[in-house]
Symmetry: C2
Subunit: 495 residues, 2 copies
């Protein structure tokens, strides 16, 4: 077998465009780029990136039945019982990958053989730091040398590892968890972000006894009330302020020693403590590319990669490898910007800016969570004169239908402008309920007048949003008062 040095000596492959990463990067080739020679690089076990194979999409196919199971187990309050409730992990796995694997396979096949101008490279690549004839040079693990006039870095991220809990055996990440043959009776999930929380909700919904371990609080970046409500409502055991000190393989599972001196055994441990951008695997630093402290590649507003603070001609990045939002809808938007700018840069047209409004995030747990923008604390830390209002599902007719006593919608509003600075929703359908607020904030519509500018069908869940907006308007209409005035709510107005 040829060594890397020998292969590097073989003829370099020259491309107009190299795309590293076939997740959102795979959406870039378009009719406008049909005359360019393109190499698509994907070193994933399965073609197509995190979202399709081990992220957003398959998790939802497990989350949906899990959510129904959670609701049914609390069905007493709705006059429902289902003593024989059973979820079939293997059946869901078959259904999920029976749908997804063919998409991945088909995508790979198409990139390998579907277009004469496209070459598929199924290897890890890294920058050599060289530029030859205006082309950025990459070398693959097997020693292929690829040179691209444009290189799009869409290499994504990978699960962060924990020194105290080495991966392997019954210690897994999201990448392995969904394809498990079966679900053990007892599972420990380490982490409090969206990924860890979704897996905890899924495992619990499928009937496992779940403990979720959090260094601080789950979903704490969203809002303290959301975080506290999540802890109170979730059907599984959530432990806060605890870290894992050590892990040992034991019969049929893993034993974790915790910072509080206790130990926990489980048949499975999922590590979900955040994600690391894959810039290191690319030797981005060796190529002189600017990195943020957390390893993300620095880009400008046109998604151009920066070197010493200045954009590098022909180097672009998008998605988890560079974005502050590790979200598929953000990566897709960034891919649209890069696709447009690849064309624009070639013609000298003005480059498109990444300036899309607030970024919503949705966590498909039970209870569901969605949010965008700042919490009240975050807004105030940024020096914004903001207030928050909260409306509970329980104060709407739909909340009565749900027999819901815990869910709510919270709005953070700038006092002077009436601008929506942020929103947080915890409860059924949060991911959908957030959209009218995202739309208003994106189109620059202030809170004032928004509720009464449209009908909200009675008695749909959207009435919780309508009423939160009305409360915010009431608060905006108040005279600026002495902050010590007890009539002025510091944070929340309740019915």
């Amino acid at each position: 077998m040829a060594t890397e040095t020998e292969r590097a000596a073989s003829a370099p492959e020259e491309y107009d465009l190299i795309i590293i990463g076939a997740g959102s990067g795979n959406t870039i080739p378009s009719p406008e780029l049909a005359d360019r020679s393109i190499a698509i690089v994907d070193d994933g076990e399965r073609f197509g990136g995190t979202c399709l194979n081990v992220g957003c999409i398959p998790t939802k196919m497990y989350a949906r039945p899990a959510d129904l199971a959670h609701e049914l187990r609390a069905g007493d309050r709705l006059g429902m019982r289902a003593d024989g409730l059973a979820l079939d992990w293997a059946a869901v796995r078959e259904r999920t990958y029976g749908r997804i694997d063919p998409i991945s396979d088909g995508g790979e096949e198409y990139r390998a053989a579907g277009e004469p101008n496209t070459t598929l490279v199924r290897e890890t690549v890294r920058f050599t730091g060289r530029e030859v004839d205006g082309r950025h040079e990459l070398v693959s693990a097997s020693g292929r040398v690829l040179r691209g006039r444009d290189v799009v870095i869409a290499a994504g991220s990978r699960p962060r590892e924990l020194d105290a809990v080495p991966l392997g055996g019954r210690v897994v990440t999201n990448a392995e968890a969904l394809r498990l043959e079966s679900l053990p009776e007892r599972v420990i999930v380490i982490g409090g972000g969206a990924v860890a929380s979704e897996f905890a909700s899924i495992f619990s919904g499928f009937g496992a006894e779940v403990v979720q371990l959090n260094r601080s609080m789950p979903l704490r970046s969203v809002d303290p009330d959301v975080s506290a409500t999540f802890c109170r409502v979730a059907a599984w055991d959530i432990r806060c302020g605890v870290e894992v000190v050590a892990s040992t393989a034991v019969d049929d599972g893993v034993r974790l020693e915790l910072s509080d001196g206790t130990a926990l055994d489980a048949g499975l441990v999922l590590v979900g403590v955040g994600r690391v951008p894959n810039s290191d695997r690319l030797d981005a630093a060796a190529a002189g590319i600017d990195l943020h402290d957390d390893g993300r590649i620095a880009v400008d507003a046109h998604q151009r990669v920066l070197r010493d603070g200045a954009p590098v001609a022909g180097l672009w990045a998008l998605g988890d490898v560079s974005s502050e939002h590790q979200l598929k809808h953000v990566a897709n938007e960034e891919a649209r910007i890069v696709a447009a700018n690849l064309v624009a840069a070639a013609t000298g047209a003005p480059l498109r800016r990444n300036e899309l409004g607030p970024v919503p995030t949705a966590v498909f747990t039970s209870p569901e969570v969605a949010a965008f923008g700042d919490s009240l604390d975050a807004a105030r830390e940024r020096g914004i004169d903001a207030f928050a209002v909260r409306h509970d599902y329980a104060w709407t007719a739909w909340g009565w239908a749900l027999a819901d006593e815990t869910s709510f919608c919270k709005l953070v509003v700038e006092r002077g402008s009436g601008r929506l600075v942020g929103a947080q929703i915890i409860g059924p359908d949060a991911a959908i309920l957030i959209q009218p607020l995202v739309q208003a904030a994106s189109l620059g519509h202030p809170v004032r007048g928004l509720a009464r500018a449209q009908y909200w069908p009675h008695p749909a869940a959207t009435e919780v949003v309508e009423n939160a907006l009305l409360k915010a308007e009431e608060e905006l209409d108040r005279e600026p008062a002495d902050p010590a005035d007890p009539a002025r709510p510091a944070e929340e107005t309740r019915d």
Copy 2:
């Protein structure tokens, strides 16, 4: 007991404001009207109107567990089994009226004794046709004479009756159905509108064998595709193009003879064939009030009642008794307009117009339906050069999570302006998913640019709306083509 004539001879009661109907009408008294003497008239068995007592609100408290039950019974596709699923009708009834009756009672008590300027009249009233000293005169069933400088007619509507199926015994309407002691094994629902369809879905969800009889098709006013899909997906037996010829009481139930020559037996028959405005009970015609052909009171854009086409000073109407939309959210908006105009008329300020944008309707069935504006057929009948696009849930990741093969979102768009003329959604969460579209149409935002002006969190159900909008934009971007061009879709673009 005094006869009506005798009582009419007793001293007339003079009010600044008489409100007939304590549904949305009950929201009118406000601090701005605190100096007026007000009579509130409600002849309902329970105080507070249709929505609270026998309509929107209690039905949702049954619809929610019913919907979950429908989803669980089709749970195989999600890898779920819920053997022994049982819904407890009596428990839901207790929960529902344990919450609602105290609201009704409290509302009645407050109106009876809570405010010195307010008198509660728990009787049916009718117009005498007389005006005395600029006051409209009413007489109650017991003969009380009430005269009001302003009279707000918010008397609502009642179930339409069927000659062939007289009410009584085991033949009921929505007014009685929710308080039944128990649910019979077999129920027939007559009608295809929102009310009938919701009850069919509830009864079926609670485990009854349900037959829904439709003169034409259920929900046919929404859209033909929606109607056909509803028939295909609903878990109960829907029969179209059939009428009831006769009904007979039989042991433990009712036998219906149908226009197709067959007969059906059931333990309960619910008649849900539309609603009749209560203008006749008020003798509105005797007072010279203009009526539409269907009995609705005619009003102008300020909610002023018309006589011979001209507004009558001091007469106002709102809600089902006058509106073309028998919807609570519409009645509430009309009540806000009347409340504002009662004040404006007294001060000579300009009256507020009823000009709020498209009216969404939501049907909380399984499958759920929501819509606003025109179907494609309706738009074309109105001479609008419109097209429709359809996006199926099945073409989104959330649709995969639901294992959904039948739900969709349809948009009707005016070709030139790109204006959203209507939208129809059938499928889970339709009532929430419609809101971003309602908001855009209400604020005058055209289809073009709407999808890409905001993030849609991946992979939430809202992606079906996002993708429908993108399809509509594609269609708008097409060159106007020969209608015979097969490349131009007549109605729908599919993936």
